[in-house]
Subunit: 316 residues, 2 copies
């Protein structure tokens, strides 16, 4: 199990390479939910998402030998950019397997940061097969976007920084895709919070984590017909036990609720958040109405996970 | 002539009612222009634009008698919201004359802040006639959105705050619509800067200020076929003399350049800026190439004037 000291070490290690992002508030949204919300703006993170934290931590833990052969990953987009940029910062080659459905803006980002893209079918199996193949041929170290302890630690530093500024948060909300962010956040809340509960947010259209918590084992998605392209992946054997033991619940939202929340934040907070982040905002808006006794009159941290949006494909 | 002390008094007066907005930077844009840019983010200002500063200063200068009869203005949008919100804060009625072409999102904003909307034809003459009529009937005090010394002072506090954080700025860039922001910024640069030059930015499609500086008298626009809906108005007799004596130049940009700059800022900085603000960013990007000796290797402040955008009418 990762310790409090592991988090402190990780934060010190990655600090020179990542931003301690701003925390925004919105009077309008506070009024809507009758709570005080603190938005940790990882959309302002380098490469546009919190993924830079875990990617950087993973790269910095490689041996000199490993660095020579590069790293390989598969990712729907944000981790791809993050690993490319983190690798570029230390002169390491990054091989990136991306589904052919990934938003163009994310592919452009990967190329800009020097990552080498390999496109594959948009299935979990196809991604892994191609990544394994590249690892075999090049000797590159495989870095999983979410099911890797170094990555989980890195992702948790966003919640850690949020709790450093606001140690009295009652709740932290974050989106659930592959589970790295929520596992890291839950551990950070345990070590740095004061009875701070962690909730996840998911689209109904990709609610594998919700169902996994219900059944007690990792469930997959039969389809993933959601605008939240970052949340289509499933949990892993390293992060699921953490999620199972530390996460208080998962709130599911509809596609309409996601788009409405995204519009609200864009129009009123004037910041670009991607659909996966809007899932979290939608969950807070919804649950404050459904369970006022749990979610009203609280101090709630919300991890705005990223801001990488393809402007040519907006839902408005 | 407004004095340095007038600015200090104004800033103290409005401080409880406005945000000291964040200053953002972007490594990517710095590399593009080969200068260090400091973006004063008035898109995060209350009511979504710097106009809140001047509106608040004007309202706070009213006598108790005047406050009872309310205020009236005409505005293409942002000043309308700002005056409504500033008036609401002190229990004053705001009558707002808006052109029937104003973006729906701005009308919604005015209504939310309690302003009473009167729609008119989208000409300078029609706006003024209707505002005069309302003033006559209600006894409301007319507050001009840009040609009013209290408004000019208030708008100048954005540049004042920027120079307080970065006293060594070489240049400040801001958009030119009615001239209140650039007149206030030019005075602020004179009093709080260290040889800081001020440049304006305008669309070619509404380049009245550029032509006014050329001819030495206030010129109007025959047409205003620009996406920058906030910049269609013309200079006034109070701000033009200030602009003429203190502004170093006006850079004009095309509609394509405006949209490209807006896209760049949305995609890379993850903040929502309105077309009028993109005009300024486009001007810096362009002029750094055309006059590198003037605009490269400099510290440049850019006033991001606002973030009120109608998401149903995006140019992407």
């Amino acid at each position: 199990m990762m310790t409090k000291q592991d988090f402190l070490d990780c934060h010190t290690r990655i600090k020179p390479f990542v931003h301690n992002t701003a925390i925004f508030t919105s009077r309008l949204i506070d009024r809507e939910v009758n709570s005080s919300i603190f938005f940790k703006c990882e959309n302002f993170q380098r490469a546009g998402a919190y993924k830079m934290r875990g990617a950087t931590n993973a790269i910095l833990q490689l041996s000199e030998e490993q660095k020579k052969c590069g790293v390989v990953t598969h990712s729907s987009g944000n981790f791809a950019q993050a690993l490319s940029l983190a690798a570029q910062s230390v002169g390491v080659t990054a091989y990136i397997v991306m589904p052919n459905t990934a938003p163009e803006v994310k592919k452009v980002g990967v190329r800009e940061y020097g990552g080498k893209i390999y496109e594959c079918e948009a299935t979990v199996e196809a991604r892994q097969a191609m990544a394994d193949d590249i690892a075999l041929k090049t000797g590159a170290t495989f870095v999983h976007p979410s099911n890797d302890n170094n990555v989980i630690l890195g992702q948790g530093t966003a919640a850690m920084e949020l709790l450093h500024e606001h140690p009295d948060l009652d709740i932290i909300f974050c989106p659930v895709g592959g589970g790295g962010l929520i596992a890291g956040s839950a551990l950070a809340a345990k070590y740095f919070g004061n009875n701070c509960k962690v909730y996840g947010a998911e689209p109904f259209e990709a609610d594998d984590a919700y169902r996994s918590l219900q059944s007690g084992k990792i469930e997959s998605n039969e389809t993933t017909n959601t605008i939240a392209d970052g949340l289509k992946t499933v949990l892993g054997d390293k992060n699921f036990p953490i999620i199972k033991s530390l996460v208080s619940g998962i709130v599911r939202v509809t596609e309409d609720e996601i788009v409405a929340a995204m519009k609200l934040v864009w129009e009123r907070m004037k910041i670009i958040i991607e659909p996966s982040s809007a899932v979290t905002v939608a969950a807070v808006l919804k649950q404050s109405k459904l369970q006022p006794e749990v979610f009203q009159n609280k101090k709630i941290g919300v991890i705005i996970s990223g801001g990488n949006v393809d402007l040519s494909k907006l839902p408005f």
